[in-house]
Amino acid sequence: MVSVITSFSRITILSFVLIFTAIDIFQMFEYKMSDSLNSILSTIQAVIVVVFLINGSVVLFISKNNVTIIGLLFLELMLFTGIVVALYKTATPISRALINNVLLFMSFGFLMLERLKLNTAVKQLGFTIASLIITLMAILIIKNVKHVSEHIYFYAGIGIVSLLLVSILGRVEYGARTSFAIMGIRIQPSEFVKLSFIFFIAAAICTYRDYRGFAIATIGSMLHVIVLVFSKDLGSALIFLGTYAFLIFIAYKNYIVMTLEFVLATIGGILAFKLFPHIQTRFIAWSDPLSVIDDKGYQISQSLFAIGTPGWLGTGLNNGMPNKIPIVTNDFIFAAIAEEMGNVVAVCLIIMFMCTVFILLMIAHETANNFYMLVVSGIGIIFAIQTILNIGGVIKFIPSTGVTLPFVSNGGSSMLSMMICLFIAECSGELANKNTRGTYER
């Protein structure tokens, strides 16, 4: 009976995800959609989020025979309601599709964590609830700070100092120094520095709007990146570097600078490869994981076994062996989803992430205020690079760099910073009205 339900749920879950993805794609290409049609589609997506979460939870409840899961489902639905209400209280959200996508990502994360490690899932839900509260406070602060777009050195300062502190005092995990433990809670400062970093670049550009802005942004960015490379946190270093390059491109429209930056980054990459043995081993683990399966290639090999063995439909929730992948709850959660929900769902998930990037960039495109245009662009860029690095690493498209999958992976810091990003993007119009003095108006 249990196996019939899990098997059947593969099909229902797949159907929900397919409809959701189809709406995502449709909304992407249909610019001139009437508001009422748009509203109907978004409502369908919102319903799917709820039904998807309930369907998954019921399957897990039956197969694990643990009532905690129903309790968690209840809290998760409350949380989702809370997020939507909070967004509407802060401002009229710009994109309902963005909210729907984020909530679906969270549902994927919650379900997969409950399936993999119930304790972790309970903690993660706690962190997410706390994240919502902290986010509301953060938004309140941003709203009320005067001249948000002018505190260049403050943003750069807290970013670089936090990264420096963690690189000196932090714990070494999986070869990189990326986290503190404060009162038993592991905090990854680089997640928050992503935010201050975007604010820093946007502020530098908007304050000067000439070569000085470029110079300050460049020097500040390089300092961030150097500290990250020093901490061996290559994933974050790549995210910061990419965000810097793309934001400069948006602001200065300069193709030559853009090309030059890419050339320099490539040379830097080759140098890093030659200089650092740990990059070489990662490269080998990527190019031929089976040759080092006992050691560095173990994780990626297990990830590919998980993705490749069950095929398109997946094993059904709780029927696979995703726990064979080391730290599956953090960096490799995508492989667990592919294994149990199937690769059709996995492909849909990539499409949803792509659509989410588009939505963020579209919001940026429509933002009148230049500072928030750059901030939301930065959020979109970070979201895109992080997703590509994570999923690409899991499926062996690129070498694994150890970054989390936004809104899905386990990790409180990542969840909090992403939640703040969501709120800033959705409420950017309102925030812009409240607290920036258009630099060009002076």
């Binding site: 948006i250 590919l304 990539i350 009148a368 205020n369």
Partner: protein, 476 residues
């Protein structure tokens, strides 16, 4: 705030970035689809992947068939609805096809993944999983010919050894037998005995692919080519055999101490004259000897589509003594080969010098008869020139018409071969019996075969008649 829009710094660049990311996302999707569809098949078949055991819950392991559709292996259920594997012909196919039970071996292991995949239509799969029924796994069709396999198996009788037959123009393995054997139906019951350290029989080992035998006189095929290459392609050679040949203090004898008298290369080959070939071994350049052996795939992985084979060993090089070279030239010394390797060499000769990679698995079909994957014959390359092929064919033909295999009844078949009698201990009365060769019928259909019968005696008396039976079974 409308007035601000006039001051927009930029906009178009955001689209460029969106397009850039879209490209990467799409490439990533393509990569994932390609991995799941194609590349994963090879990748996931790994001992570190513990997921296979779970498959059996949803899919009934598919059947394995001989090329004519005879069932070699199938799945049955006992009264408690527990599945088990049935091999209707017992040990007939045991080494080629392997077993499931105590782990897996042979094709059962190599194609386990395919046998446990069901390629019936998706709606039927969904229907089956909803009703709690297992879907039927795909079936594997081998290249093995039931009748030829049976002739080889029966012919080998109670001797230890191996028989392997290959279709030269495709590389299809038509028969593959190794003895001592075991009954895969009872693998669990017999496991203790089969794997007992004190049991020297090693019945689980497939001697056809993994055996390490001294090639004996069958190696004279390679020595002949080495001489032709040393002699600039000319077969000009003359030797007066007095029944033995001295290299320093070491004497090599002809079989039965027979004096063959005056011989050219062809005559020495068909007589399998040890003295003449020992003389050749000491004459030719040792480096070139080594290069010739290496060109015949010694000291390297054999190019096959099989999962496990054994490297053959050839040790002579510039630093070797004349005695070593002389011994090696007649297939003694430290040289060792597998029957598969000898059969590949002969099948290259039969196929005008081109070696086709041997394979056992012809195709995977769904239970609906849809072909899921099919092995396409693939050439490894040219092992020897057409000129060398022509000369060897002449020599190998004379072995059957007037040489050591003259008395063997090959029926109407045109046969090219070489017998071998290989010493494997210091006791010269204990010898392995070899025959390697190929046949063609009037239509030009060819089959290459290699036979080794351990401790049987001379090649012409034991291995050659068995090879004749195997070849004849193929054309019936």
């Amino acid at each position: 705030m409308k007035d601000k829009s006039k001051h927009k710094i930029i906009r178009k660049e955001i689209y460029i970035i969106a397009a850039f990311f879209a490209l990467i996302f799409i490439a990533m999707i393509g990569y994932l689809i390609n991995f799941v569809n194609k590349r994963s098949k090879e990748f996931i078949y790994n001992e570190y992947n513990s997921r296979f055991s779970v498959f059996a819950d949803d899919v009934t392991r598919g059947n394995i068939y001989a090329s004519d559709g005879t069932v070699i292996a199938s799945t049955s259920k006992n009264e408690e609805r527990k599945e088990y594997r049935v091999y209707p012909d017992g040990s007939l196919f045991c080494h080629a096809v392997g077993y499931v039970g105590k782990g897996m071996a042979g094709l059962e292991a190599d194609y386990s993944f395919d046998l446990l995949k069901s390629n019936i239509p998706l709606e039927e799969q969904i229907n089956n999983s909803l009703t709690g029924q297992k879907s039927p796994g795909d079936n594997l069709y081998t290249t093995l010919n039931y009748n030829v396999q049976k002739a080889a198996y029966d012919g080998l009788g109670s001797y230890d050894g191996a028989v392997i037959a290959i279709e030269p123009d495709t590389g299809k393995i038509i028969a593959m037998v190794s003895k001592p054997d075991y009954d895969p139906n009872n693998i669990a019951e017999e496991w203790e005995e089969l794997t007992d350290e004190s049991n020297k029989k090693s019945s689980l080992v497939n001697r056809a692919t993994l055996g390490a035998y001294p090639p004996g006189s069958t190696f004279k095929i390679i020595t002949s080519v080495a001489y032709l290459r040393f002699n600039g392609g000319s077969e000009e050679y003359s030797f007066n055999c007095r029944g033995s040949y001295k290299i320093g203090n070491y004497t090599i004898h002809c079989s039965g101490h027979k004096s063959h008298g005056k011989e050219d290369l062809k005559k020495a080959f068909s007589n399998s004259c040890n003295s003449a070939f020992a003389n050749i071994g000491t004459t030719i350049d040792k480096k070139q000897f080594r290069e010739t052996a290496d060109s015949f795939l010694f000291n390297q992985e054999l190019p096959t589509m099989l999962k496990s084979t054994r490297k053959s060993v050839f040790k002579v090089d510039q630093s070797s003594s004349d005695q070593q070279a002389g011994q090696t030239a007649i297939g003694q010394g430290e040289t060792s080969v597998s029957p598969l390797h000898m059969c590949m060499i002969v099948s290259a000769i039969a196929n005008n010098g081109t070696l086709m990679k041997p394979y056992l698995a012809d195709r995977i079909e769904s239970t609906k008869g849809e072909v899921i994957s099919k092995t396409t014959p693939s050439a490894y390359g040219q092992l020897l020139s057409t000129d060398e092929v022509a000369k060897l064919q002449d020599y190998m033909s004379s072995v059957v018409s007037e040489g050591t295999a003259k008395k063997v009844d090959f029926g109407d078949l045109e046969v090219y071969g070489k017998t071998g009698t290989a010493e494997y201990t210091t006791n010269k009365n204990l010898t392995h019996s070899w025959f390697v060769g190929y046949s063609t019928d009037a239509s030009g259909k060819k089959l290459a075969v290699a036979v080794i019968m351990e401790s049987a005696g001379s090649g012409s008396k034991f291995a050659a008649p068995l090879a004749a039976d195997v070849l004849k079974a193929y054309y019936e």
